[in-house]
């Protein structure tokens, strides 16, 4: 699905990531850990084309992203669901429309999708807040909404950056279950998280590989995780 080939990245100063090679095979489940500021978010942005590597190549669905024009990039984004670390919404639209935004911009028939939308909102526990504007949501509610928005188009790949940083343990498990279910349907999942308890819990439900960024390199984490 998504393949990083000897990728290096720098924001202008020293190199943040070097020689990173990883292949997210279809149907795989990955975690990404590493200390704060190591480059987890940066790596995710490279995967969905928000950043262009300073060296090496990123391939998505067997196409080299470097050649993408803006329309191809838009089409790619419809196949990749992304949960940002600082969840951003359109503050003037109610929550339900924000979650349905990928349906709206891709011109789907909203009537057909409404059952789907309602089910998803129930799962993340936001049915009651459907008419609230995003600034009125609590921190955890925003994170759940971001995850719902990322998966509503049923994308081939889900990239989630710290999706459970602001929710309690019970809700974390619910969100994890959602991602595991998607993975079981054949979707590729990558979760950046520093929450070791979450990773351990996931490993009991699904066969997950844990990647760790340390010293600018990407390593496979040991059996302790």
């Amino acid at each position: 699905m998504i393949e990083l080939d000897d990728v290096g990245y720098s924001y202008g100063g020293g190199e943040l990531l070097s020689n990173v090679s990883v292949k997210l095979a279809p149907g795989s489940f990955h975690f990404l850990t590493g200390p704060s500021g190591a480059g987890k978010t940066t790596l995710l942005k490279l995967c969905y084309g928000a950043l262009t590597p300073t060296s090496g190549a990123v391939r998505a669905f067997d196409a080299d992203m470097r050649g993408f024009d803006r329309d191809q990039m838009a089409m790619l984004r419809r196949r990749i669901g992304v949960v940002h670390q600082d969840c951003r919404f359109l503050d003037h639209l109610p929550l339900a429309d924000n979650i349905a935004l990928p349906l709206i911009v891709s011109g789907r028939d909203m009537a057909q999708e409404s059952a789907n939308l309602r089910e998803l909102m129930t799962w993340v526990g936001l049915t009651e807040r459907a008419d609230a504007r995003p600034p009125e949501l609590s921190g955890g509610e925003r994170q759940r909404a971001a995850l719902a928005r990322a998966v509503i188009l049923s994308p081939d790949v889900v990239l989630a950056d710290e999706p459970t940083g602001n929710v309690d343990w019970e809700m974390s498990m619910r969100l994890l279950t959602l991602l595991v279910e998607l993975n079981k349907m054949g979707k590729t999942v990558l979760i950046a998280s520093h929450d070791l308890a979450l990773i351990r819990a996931a490993k009991s439900q699904v066969q997950a590989r844990v990647l760790r960024i340390a010293n600018r390199r990407l390593q496979l984490a040991g059996a302790d995780l």
Partner: protein
């Protein structure tokens, strides 16, 4: 944003317009700027149309009317006048020739001799008003014939008199058109400014829309449609107010000249209706250019 997506930009779906937040400030700025500009444009248009009319009228009067002045011993004036009138009526190109009455002459001379003028006591020359037709007459030939048959006649074709006035009217007309150009330019500048402000203020909205897979033409279209509509509404209101203002001006009076003759005549009323269309086109072009630049910058 290739050419093929222009249709998309112009006629996006209703949903697309909701994704751009209703930005109070840039909306007000656009409405206000296009309204004010349209309002001013109506006056500039009225000014140039009115001074154009004035210039045309004066120019055509200037070309088409002349005065024949007959200075002769008192007992010959009547005979020479009759002879001159005969010649004029025979001249091809002369539409009308009419001897001024004593009263008319007295009125014309009053400034010089005071209102109590008795023409009978003065050997005042007799004036004949000559009006050309479309083709015009041959002034040199006429002069020649007159000098042979009516020795006391002098043909004065007014040119010296009215030319500066016609030039003044023409330069007012130019001023009007230049103002309209300046107004259009100022409007384009303001709307560009507003569109750029809206795009800058919505950098985060654009980021979110791109994240969920919106095409650039979809995003640009939402902004472009909104600004075009605002400019259309703003300038429609502006011309309505401007036309109201023009109607409220004192009606053109005969003595009025420049200042009171403002206003539209006949088909001239259709001209201002072009302003909102022009305003909307300006807004469309300005917003599209701004969106294109901004979206390329942000990528």
């Amino acid at each position: 944003m290739s050419g093929g997506t222009l249709r998309n930009v112009l006629f996006g779906d209703a949903q697309a317009d909701r994704v751009v937040p209703p930005s109070g400030f840039t909306a007000r700025l656009t409405l206000f700027a296009s309204g004010a500009m349209a309002f001013l444009a109506v006056f500039a248009l009225a000014l140039s149309l009115a001074s154009g009319r004035l210039a045309d009228r004066w120019a055509s009067e200037l070309a088409r009317s002349a005065t024949l002045r007959i200075t002769a011993p008192e007992d010959q004036v009547a005979a020479q006048t009759a002879a001159a009138l005969t010649i004029l009526r025979q001249t091809p190109g002369v539409d009308r020739a009419r001897a001024l009455s004593a009263g008319e002459q007295a009125a014309l001379l009053a400034p010089w001799f005071g209102p109590g003028l008795d023409l009978a006591t003065l050997p005042v020359p007799q004036l004949i008003e000559v009006t050309e037709d479309e083709q015009g007459y041959d002034a040199a030939g006429l002069r020649l014939r007159l000098s042979a048959e009516v020795p006391g006649a002098v043909l004065d074709d007014h040119t010296r008199w009215r030319k500066p006035l016609v030039e003044a009217a023409n330069s007012l007309r130019r001023l009007g058109w230049i103002s309209i150009l300046l107004i259009g330019g100022a409007m384009a500048a303001m709307i560009s400014l507003a569109a750029n402000a809206a795009l800058a203020a919505n950098a985060q909205v654009i980021e979110v829309l791109r994240l969920v897979g919106a095409r650039d033409s979809y995003i640009a279209g939402a902004f472009v449609r909104r600004f075009t509509l605002r400019a259309l509404i703003g300038s429609a209101v502006g011309i309505a107010l401007g036309l109201g203002g023009v109607l409220l001006l004192p009606a053109a009076s005969d003595e009025g000249g420049f200042l009171t003759g403002l206003g539209f005549r006949g088909l001239g009323w259709l001209w201002p209706l072009l302003i909102p269309l022009l305003g909307a086109s300006v807004a469309f072009a300005a917003t599209w250019a701004a969106a294109r630049r901004r979206l390329t910058e942000l990528s």
